[in-house]
């Protein structure tokens, strides 16, 4: 995405970001006021207020981190990049809990190349894999598969988990900005990932979700120049 497009997107987001940050900050400020006035008379209430402070601080920090990670996506240098290398690098960099089994597979390896910025694809895959991990409590399986379709003209990357699934009431809005069902979710990860994929003429969609797991798919055009 060109810098001017990125700035335009960020400009459009500014109002929403301000609103999303000010609400948790107001809640923090209310709880600090209440803690000052109530003291520790009621230990349970005191602990609840501290927990709320911690959640809201995490939320504001996550919102800022998401915005920063977006702006940190380096100046786009589109090159022919290997899906395999990108997936492996994301997984290597992530602290995947030991009780989660990770299955990674690549088919049609000679065609698994796309022409885009490596850091952008990295941030898309990282977001999908992070969501998958967060959806699983214990003993889950994270599966990342990549293969080609449409006469090897489209690269598919499927990221699936065996987690709790996306609640029905938020399924229609998962790609909307600031829509999140997680306590400390920012609602920025998926919309930004989708925007990156679409800017690169691709698709990012939810293939399925249920109480048994969720699967997201990224489709991108195969790079014309195939790098061996």
């Amino acid at each position: 995405m060109a810098t001017r497009d990125k700035l335009a997107v960020l400009g459009k987001l500014a109002g929403q970001i301000a609103h999303e940050l000010r609400t948790p900050i107001s809640v923090i400020s209310n709880h600090v006021f209440l803690l000052r006035n109530e003291g520790m008379k009621d230990k349970k209430l005191f602990e609840n207020r501290l927990q709320m402070l911690e959640n809201k601080i995490k939320l504001t920090s996550n919102i800022l981190e998401s915005i920063l990670s977006y702006s940190r996506v380096k100046a786009e240098i589109s090159t022919t990049i290997s899906i395999k290398e990108c997936v492996e690098e994301v997984i290597k960099d992530m602290a995947i809990p030991e009780d989660i089994t990770t299955k990674v597979s690549f088919k049609d390896e000679e065609f698994l190349f796309v022409f885009m910025d490596f850091h952008q694809l990295y941030s898309v895959l990282r977001n999908l894999i992070l969501n998958a991990i967060e959806a699983m409590n214990i003993n889950g399986t994270l599966t990342v598969e990549s293969f080609c379709t449409s006469n090897n003209s489209i690269v598919n990357i499927r990221v699936s988990d065996t987690g709790i699934g996306i609640p029905e009431n938020v399924r229609d809005t998962i790609f909307h900005l600031f829509s999140s069902s997680k306590i400390t979710g920012t609602g920025l990860g998926l919309p930004i990932a989708k925007s990156i994929v679409e800017t690169n003429d691709g698709k990012l969609y939810l293939e399925k979700t249920s109480g048994k797991g969720t699967c997201f798919v990224v489709e991108l055009k195969t790079a014309k120049k195939i790098k061996k």
């Binding site: 109002g15 301000a18 000010r22 609400t23 948790p24 107001s26 809640v27 209310n30 209440l34």
Partner: protein, 130 residues
């Protein structure tokens, strides 16, 4: 609708789609202050509550799904013209302040307001009508 207390204290209704915001502000207003506070996280539900209950004041958020704070303000004023309404917003613009005042808002306040300040504004405004 959640209600904190029920007695002869001035009744205030909070409307914000963020439940944590409603609960914490409601705690602030009931702590050491003499208000009877209820809240709703849905502007449409809030209108139903207002039809049935006499509140002296409503403190409403501007950005909400289904209906924004300005629209809610217009509906409130149609139903209860004497009800005092404070509009809270993340962005205070002259245009919004003008529009809100035109529709009858008593005050437009930044959403990032210190609890002590909002208590001060409430007591000053209620003292003004007594």
């Amino acid at each position: 609708m959640k209600q904190k207390e029920s007695n002869n204290k001035p009744r205030i209704l909070l409307v914000d789609d963020d439940k944590d915001m409603c609960e914490s502000l409601s705690d602030v207003l009931t702590l050491g202050s003499n208000y009877d506070v209820s809240y709703s996280i849905n502007p449409l539900e809030a209108l139903e509550i207002i039809k049935k209950t006499d509140f002296v004041m409503a403190i409403i958020d501007f950005k909400m799904p289904n209906m924004n704070g300005l629209e809610l303000l217009k509906h409130i004023k149609k139903l209860k013209p004497r009800m005092i309404v404070f509009l809270l917003t993340a962005f205070i613009s002259n245009e919004l302040v003008e529009q809100a005042k035109k529709e009858g808002a008593a005050r437009v306040l930044s959403k990032f307001i210190w609890p002590a300040e909002i208590l001060k504004y409430i007591s000053a405004t209620l003292a003004g009508i007594e």
